[in-house]
């Protein structure tokens, strides 16, 4: 699996918020069709990493990014159309955001941006994405209800459905199951395993066991640094070089 050219290649990436260093000189590769896990204690810079991948520093005057991020070999800071990049990258952040429009429109939003106009085609996308996000059964009879008034967990899955509706090549998930019950989480996890046949996924998670279940390789972040990257099974079977990683996965700190 890892013998391809990397989908995503990060070199010497640093992220700062004002004077606060959130990420310090990270380098790693993510390969096509893998689930790449990122674990680490609170404030270690995991979310900042994902934000940098989608060039979200443009939304936050306080945030500065240095280093290289190559998406399919293309330096994303040098591209001329950042919107095209963001359309290829789906993101799900821990705070769910249902947009104040119908559930249907929430999911049809990105396809419409991509120029899809046919009702039948949109219907198909909406249904497929809502099914994959494990939300379809709950909302199929009220697709015109406001997305912003769903429950927290439903909004979380709506956000996942929206990210999928972009038909992304790279899916960035940040603690996606934080507001979702365990059974539904399992269903979504199964979908992710299927999805990786088609796309590449970066999964930030606080649940070490979730990384173990899903990730092919996993990186451990600690205090703005990347401690190490390893095959997930090695990480959990103790074949890792760094004592801090071992302590973390075995729950001995943080």
């Amino acid at each position: 699996m890892v013998d391809n050219a990397p989908k995503l290649s990060v070199r010497n990436l640093s992220v700062r918020y004002g004077d606060k260093q959130a990420l310090n000189g990270i380098s790693l590769d993510v390969f096509p069709n893998e689930i790449f896990g990122i674990i680490g204690p609170a404030n270690s810079g995991k979310t900042s990493f994902l934000r940098a991948l989608n060039r979200m520093e443009e939304f936050d005057a306080n945030m500065t990014v240095e280093g290289d991020i190559l998406f399919e070999g293309q330096d994303i800071t040098a591209i001329r159309n950042v919107y095209a990049l963001r359309r290829k990258v789906g993101v799900v952040f821990p705070l769910p955001v249902g947009l104040p429009m119908s559930i249907y429109e929430n999911v049809a939003f990105a396809p419409k941006l991509a120029g899809i106009k046919k009702k039948a085609e949109l219907d198909e996308i909406v249904e497929r994405c809502l099914i994959r996000a494990a939300l379809w059964d709950e909302v199929k009879d009220r697709l015109d209800a406001l997305g912003s008034l769903l429950s927290g967990g439903q909004q979380q899955r709506l956000t996942i459905a929206r990210a999928l509706s972009q038909n992304p090549e790279l899916l960035l998930l940040d603690e996606f199951s934080i507001a979702v019950d365990p059974v539904t989480t399992m269903r979504i996890e199964d979908v992710l395993k299927e999805l990786k046949e088609e796309i590449t996924i970066v999964l930030v998670t606080n649940l070490v066991q979730q990384a173990r279940r899903l990730a092919d390789r996993t990186a451990f972040f600690l205090e703005s640094e990347l401690i190490e990257t390893a095959e997930t099974e090695e990480l959990f079977s103790g074949v890792v070089k760094d004592q801090r990683t071992r302590d973390y996965v075995e729950g001995r700190f943080g």
Partner: protein, 291 residues
Amino acid sequence: MSLFARTGLDEHNRRVEWLVRTLFLLMTVLLIIPVALIMGILIQRGAPALSWGFLTEVPTNGMTAGGIFTALIGTVWIVAVALLASVPIGVAAAVYLSEYAPDNWLTRAINLAIINLAGVPSIVHALFGLGAFVVFFGFGRSILAASLTLAVMTLPIVIVATRESLQAVPHAFREACWNMGATRWQTIRRVVLPNSISGILTGVILEVSRTAGETAPIMFTGAAAFLPFLPQGVLDQTMAMSLHLYVVSTQVPDVPDALPFGVALVLISMVLVMNATSIAFRIYLRNKRKW
């Protein structure tokens, strides 16, 4: 405190508290009572003048008789043309300030300019309208010149109201859209504007009421004391309600007592009804939860 027996000090404090509260209530009431009384008098003395004919007939006998039709229609013209100019500019400015503007000196200068536009005396706006629109741009004394003067003057109302309602849309919605690859404009058009349009409308209604009541800025730019006919286009002069009230109450001899009161009553009703609509609209919106 209630656990302890009430002491003398407690009793004293309660009295002072009551006294202070009553004093402030009194001040509030004293602010409102005179105005209420004045309104009562306006209605009492203006009512005899009011009739359907008062609204639909033109002034006659050197404005000592007849109705206010020409002034009423003139005000509608002036307000409409002013809105056509100020709403697009004002909304654009607000969209810029709320959605695009970086935090730099230019943005601060724009904000300062808005504060000053709102603070410049209306008579200075009048001088500006005369010097710029009537003389320099050569529109002459016309609805166009008067309306543009008012548009500049009331621009801050539209900008401030629009900016507020744009900013009431949570930032998280914007980020969600941007993250899906929507441009700023696509985000504004599909998420921000649809959810703030009613707030913008509230501001526009407020602007209408302000525009309808202004006198000084139109006196020398396009409103005439008396015209026997309706304007045919934006380059014509016109009568206006506010100026008509000034004229019949100060410039015309032998006006029957009820006439100016009637004009004042109609003008104030127009303005208050629009304001009340705007306020009611706002309260309705606040109670209609969309997130």
